[in-house]
Amino acid sequence: MTTVASPRARKRVRRGAAGPLFVAPFLVLFLLLFLAPLGYAAYLSLFQQRLIGGTVFVGLDNYVTALKDPLLLHGVGRVALFFLIQVPLMLVLALLFALALDSGLLRLARVIRLGIFVPYAVPSVVATLMWGYLYGPDFGPFAQLTRELDLPAPQFLSEGWMLGSLANIVTWEFVGYNMIILYAALRTIPHDLYEAAAMDGAGAWRIAWSIKLPALRPALLLTLLFSVIGSFQLFNEPNLLMKIAPEVISSSYTANLYAYTLAFTGNQLNYAATVSFLLGLVIVIASYAVLLTANRRRTP
């Protein structure tokens, strides 16, 4: 851009005015639909509305309460644990599938690709209902099968297994999505690199390790960021499984579920806004942590 010749200077000015214009539709919607509600939620979180006594300004009291609220802390802790277990598993699977598809050695590659991706097209509500049926301790197919074999039925919905069962549902739903991102990134790698590597005597594994994986780093980072956000906002799956395992999944099982319960069961909109804000903060911090770690590893 800096090398543009002087006769074109006038055009550059016009271009400068066009920029904001092009951005305007986005900005207006962003302000109206994103920043305004965010600001309103921040405003709400500074008040407390009671059935008796009306609304009072309480400053940061709600935040002080929330930071000491064991239900919120447990909820955040639980999704953090979920993140640590589920996300690496899902991303490794997605990576393996993407590499296998990209290797060109698979038969029926398109069918397989579609097969892995299809669960993502299933709404998470439907997926959870389906898995909820499969997990059923009495009449679910796994329970029936083990009973036929005179084995104890697997307790997918028990306290100890629940997080794993949720992780399984989420993995099933999102492996295909992440695989597609990684696979698309793999397709952009120039073929001459492979040819050069092959000339130097590199095998398929060596190419995967030394060329494909480094080239995938930005895409992997992207999927990881999406997963941070997705994990910490875990809501649909526990909310639906709550109906079949009410004694395991409480209304504060995840932080997001807790905020929802506060708003729509307890009618504590102000406190719900506070909890949502803090959850947003946790996600921002976790995302930054991921970015910083990734960048630091790149510099040396």
């Binding site: 059935l51 301790p137 009495d138 009449f139 729509f264 307890g266 009618n267």
Partner: protein, 462 residues
């Protein structure tokens, strides 16, 4: 009420849902009964003249009515035929919680609220504390008192005699049982809870795959019905903002020790209800009874077809066999929202819909609602219906008799949603985990108390 018609199944499931929005209960506002609403309403209790009513009913008007009752257009058609100037627009704003959340939002926003809304009995106080309902006395509602079952009228009445809504349907609780399973194991229909416990042990010992009953660990509405039967008074409001909460008193403790004990022994199941596993449980004979409400028979006949003909109905077992009593689970009312611009037409519609003989009967025969009017409960064409699913038993008669034994003094808390969620996470969880249910009552009590205090109530008896 020919339950053999093909539409029965889906119809009865929907109608059941109508009755049980009760389960998770809509609303979280409100103080128990007496409140800011009463001050204004006594002033407006002056009757509206007949001339004004006639004039209003001849003025072209459109009323908006939020309800989740399926196919309510047929009842509305009766009203519009009698009052051709009035048109009623039905809006289905969702069911139970969803409906209440939207209604609360509209009321708060001060715009978009309907003229009338379906409100379940337990949610009425929620809307009276915010002064959102119209007292129907000036519109002649007092004259209807004797037409409705006493306890339903008590549920819609305010402390100063206000009439906040008109009862639509009810759910007095009874027991549906598998006669074939009882016969097979030589079990008599239990008349008392003592006999019921003995039968539970005997049955489960004889066949470990079968439980005498399933007390769902996610069903606070059933627990409240059983509390109601046991004569508990868990919630009582006095004055503006004072609330007595005693969900862990002696009566509740007796109930908790009883059910917690049976669950701990493992002779009853505690599966969550209205889930796939629960439906399968009925069809495969896992549960030998269902302690349910009067809407239960129609619902079950649509949901457990594999067991048709094997079921019978009986009253709930009793704590004191000499004085049979029952509680209620579910049922709705029609209320007029105070902000309506057409109070006369709306009030007349609420009354017509539920008290006109043809309309009330239609609810019983088309939607399979269990009636709230005395005349229908005494009507042989309703009570005399012999149902094949129940081996030709006159099930409606059984529940009509039970309806007479429901106590009139049960009150609902002002934030039932919170109370219900807290129940599931304390008492319900203790049942499912086979832990100490009596101790869980204490946790429930303290959680509700904390919530109430945070909401600005003065809590007594905690």
């Amino acid at each position: 009420m020919p339950s053999s018609s093909p539409s029965t199944s889906s119809m009865s499931r929907r109608r059941f849902l109508t009755a049980t929005g009760a389960v998770s209960l809509g609303a979280a506002l409100s103080a128990c009964s007496d409140d800011s609403g009463s001050g204004g309403s006594s002033a407006s209790a002056k009757p509206v003249g007949q001339a004004d009513i006639d004039k209003a009913m001849k003025t072209p008007t459109e009323l908006t009515f939020w309800t989740w009752v399926p196919d309510i257009a047929q009842e509305i058609a009766l009203f519009e035929k009698k009052y051709p100037a009035i048109k009623v627009k039905v809006v289905n704003a969702g069911q139970g919680v969803q409906h209440y959340t939207k209604l609360r939002t509209a009321l708060k926003a001060g715009t978009g609220a309907p003229d009338l809304a379906q409100i379940e009995y337990q949610a009425v106080p929620t809307y009276t504390i915010t002064d959102s309902l119209l007292d129907l006395r000036p519109y002649g509602a007092s004259a209807l008192k004797d037409q409705f079952v006493d306890w339903t009228w008590a549920q819609v009445s305010g402390p100063d005699g206000q009439i906040w809504a008109i009862p639509q349907d009810t759910g007095p609780m009874g027991m549906l049982y598998r006669k074939d399973i009882f016969d097979e194991h030589g079990i008599q229909v239990p008349k008392t809870w003592h006999e019921f416990a003995a039968a539970a042990r005997k049955l489960h010992k004889a066949d470990p795959d079968v439980y005498l009953t399933n007390l769902a660990a996610n069903e606070p509405a059933a627990w409240h019905g059983l509390l109601w039967q046991a004569g508990a008074k868990p919630y009582a409001a006095s004055g503006e903002s004072t609330l007595a909460i005693s969900v862990d008193d002696a009566v509740s403790g007796k109930l908790a020790a009883y059910w917690g004990g049976l669950a701990k022994e493992g002779v009853i199941s505690t599966d969550p209800d209205f889930t796939d596993g629960w439906y399968a449980g009925f069809n495969k004979g896992k549960y030998a009874t269902w302690l349910t409400a009067a809407w239960g028979p129609a619902f079950l006949s649509g949901s457990a077809k594999a067991t048709a003909g094997n079921w019978r109905a009986a009253p709930l077992p009793q704590w004191d066999a000499a004085k049979p009593v029952s509680g209620n689970w579910g049922g709705s009312t029609t209320a007029v929202i105070k902000s309506t611009k057409n109070p006369i037409a709306a009030a007349m519609f609420a009354q017509f819909l539920n008290s006109d003989p043809a309309s009330a009967k239609m609810f019983a025969t088309k939607q399979f609602f269990f009636p709230a009017t005395k005349s229908l409960l005494a009507d042989p064409s309703f009570t005399g219906d012999a149902l094949d699913f129940y081996g030709g038993q006159k099930v409606n008669q059984v529940f009509a008799d039970i309806s007479d034994t429901v106590s009139t003094s049960f009150q609902w808390p002002p934030f039932l949603d919170q109370v219900a969620t807290d129940w599931t996470e304390t008492v319900g969880k203790s049942l499912a985990d086979r832990a100490d249910t009596v101790a869980a009552l204490g946790t429930w009590q303290s959680r509700i108390t904390t919530y109430a205090k945070n909401q600005g109530f003065t809590v007594k008896g905690a």
